[in-house]
Symmetry: C2
Subunit: 335 residues, 2 copies
């Protein structure tokens, strides 16, 4: 026990981490082992930076929890959890190149510390390592799920690139982007846990639905927080999406209700990229005026509720309860 | 027939293409189909540019030839051939970011036409598509081979990054880099052809050895041509490796025999990157003085001979003959 209070006061993901502590220790060992490269010592240098930078390991925990919840007793869930974390880390490395990010998890990003080259190539290395790990399970259905998730992720990222700066982006396109950047890996993480546990089709489907809805809620919350959330105070990272001209849900909702003047504003700052001092404040004011932040927040709450509803198709257990609370927790940041 | 003469006068890869014409047409259809993205129309824009830019499709032909040579009758060899071409194209896209290349196959590279972002993400998309295609074969051994090849490729690329600018790079490290950037995909291409054809272990091994040796010969020839080949005339692209401070086989051979003054020259231009007008001519003169180009060329000839020797473990056939002639053809450019 740490000094942070009794078990009930802990966040659901910390309780999940406690429950899954042995599995997670094995996953962390696997990650360290497979990250190492005999021939290219720079690789662990770059990845250790990311993998050990205090990530919450949310995705691997989803795989472990799904498998354990359905009574799985082998070790393939650990391999798949490491697989999922490697895919996640690889996409972070490539995102840093794409977003030209300066900081990630409070530290300078790999592409500033080393360079774009290392970010691209070490990302590729982690993808290939994840691929080796999943092949080791010898489960073709798992491979099929992860191959499809990889394609959805890559497609979503390209779509985000083309949808940015385009005010015609609608909620359908936004949802595809969100599935690509977040939900596809969440749903694959939970689904493969069920598949290796030989869960029924209905259970596997429920696990997919849970991961999908949780991921969508998670990403919408992120996008809401990028405009300062509902607290109307500007956080440290507020406005990143605005500066990168990403058309996220709050903007979509505000554009739908825009006056002629407001529309001209959005065209200038998002489509033309002509951003001046005070524009972020102006955007926030328009978003608040139309209740766009709250509307997006409500959408996140709906997805969290869907995630919880999906769990009802799975046997009741401590893990199921924690996963349900996790869905609440994810949206708590903006509720 | 085109006007270029009778069949015997054709290059071996053109004769292979003729022999495999039906298979190649199916592979090309598959490539076009799987390249398409319903959600992200930019993807075929970027890839068509590369995939249709007159690449010789050497790698997919190796897979088709290996499978057909051993009597394979299904269609999985076509899927694997497309897989291999997608992996190749993806690595080209990522290489363009890494090398900051301006031109590829005589056209501006994708990262100049669009940007680094598209090159990274569309490369990832092609990797994920290749992954889906190979999973469709349902052959776990094939997946294992391609997963290992992917890791070797990624590791080799990172190794090349760290080995560049380092005169301590020896032939052992050079060979690892060459396997990563070229030979690993060649050997995987031939090996998987044998595996799906249910070849014997000795035959699969022979196919691996052929692809590995052919790939190494191919890359050494490329590195020799980057210093103008043995013709002592400077070609259009001569000096790219020199400018990028890559330590390739000709340089390794020359550094091994360097006088004190020559060593100081290599330290300045490769390790310190202080390159001035006339330095490339100076490098060429040193390479010629030590016979370093010829020594590297001889190494390529040895690998081509190994490739041909490996084929002797496979049943005699028209295809085997063409693959043998292909090994000669690859080194003909510098012989």
């Amino acid at each position: 026990m740490d000094g942070s209070g009794d078990a009930q006061a802990k966040a659901p993901q910390d309780r999940l981490a406690d429950w899954l502590a042995e599995d997670m220790a094995a996953v962390n060992r696997l990650i360290r082992e497979r990250m190492a490269s005999e021939h290219a010592p720079r690789i662990p240098e770059v990845t250790a930076h990311l993998v050990e930078a205090g990530g919450k390991r949310l995705r691997p925990m989803l795989t472990l929890a799904a498998a354990r919840m359905l009574g799985y007793q082998g070790i393939d869930h650990q391999k798949l959890a490491a697989t999922v974390e490697f895919i996640h880390t690889a996409t972070l490395l490539h995102d840093d190149v794409v977003d030209e990010s300066q900081r990630r998890r409070g530290r300078p990003t790999a592409n500033l510390l080393w360079d774009n080259k290392s970010s691209v190539l070490v990302g590729d290395y982690l993808f290939s390592r994840s691929f080796q790990l999943m092949v080791e399970t010898g489960n073709l259905r798992v491979l099929d799920i992860l191959a499809n998730a990889s394609a959805t992720i890559a497609e979503g990222e390209v779509l985000q690139l083309t949808a940015a700066q385009d005010l015609a982006t609608d909620e359908r396109v936004y949802l595809q982007v969100v599935r690509g950047k977040t939900a596809a890996l969440f749903s694959a993480a939970t689904e493969v846990g069920g598949v290796i546990a030989k869960a029924s089709e209905a259970q596997v489907r429920a696990l997919y639905d849970y991961g999908d809805a949780l991921g969508i809620a998670f990403q919408i919350v992120d996008d809401v927080l990028d405009y300062g959330g509902t607290a109307a105070v500007i956080g440290k990272n507020t406005g990143d999406d605005f500066r990168e001209r990403k058309v996220t849900l709050p903007v979509i909702r505000a554009v739908a209700k825009a006056s002629v003047e407001e529309r001209a504003f959005w065209v200038r700052v998002i489509e033309k990229g002509d951003q001046r001092d005070g524009d972020l404040d102006q955007a926030l004011s328009i978003l608040r005026h139309h209740g766009a932040i709250e509307a997006a927040r409500d959408e996140a709450l709906i997805w969290a509720a869907r995630a919880k509803a999906a769990l009802l198709n799975l046997p009741a257990s401590d893990l199921r309860k924690m996963l349900s609370e996790l869905a609440d927790f994810v949206v708590d940041r903006v509720a």
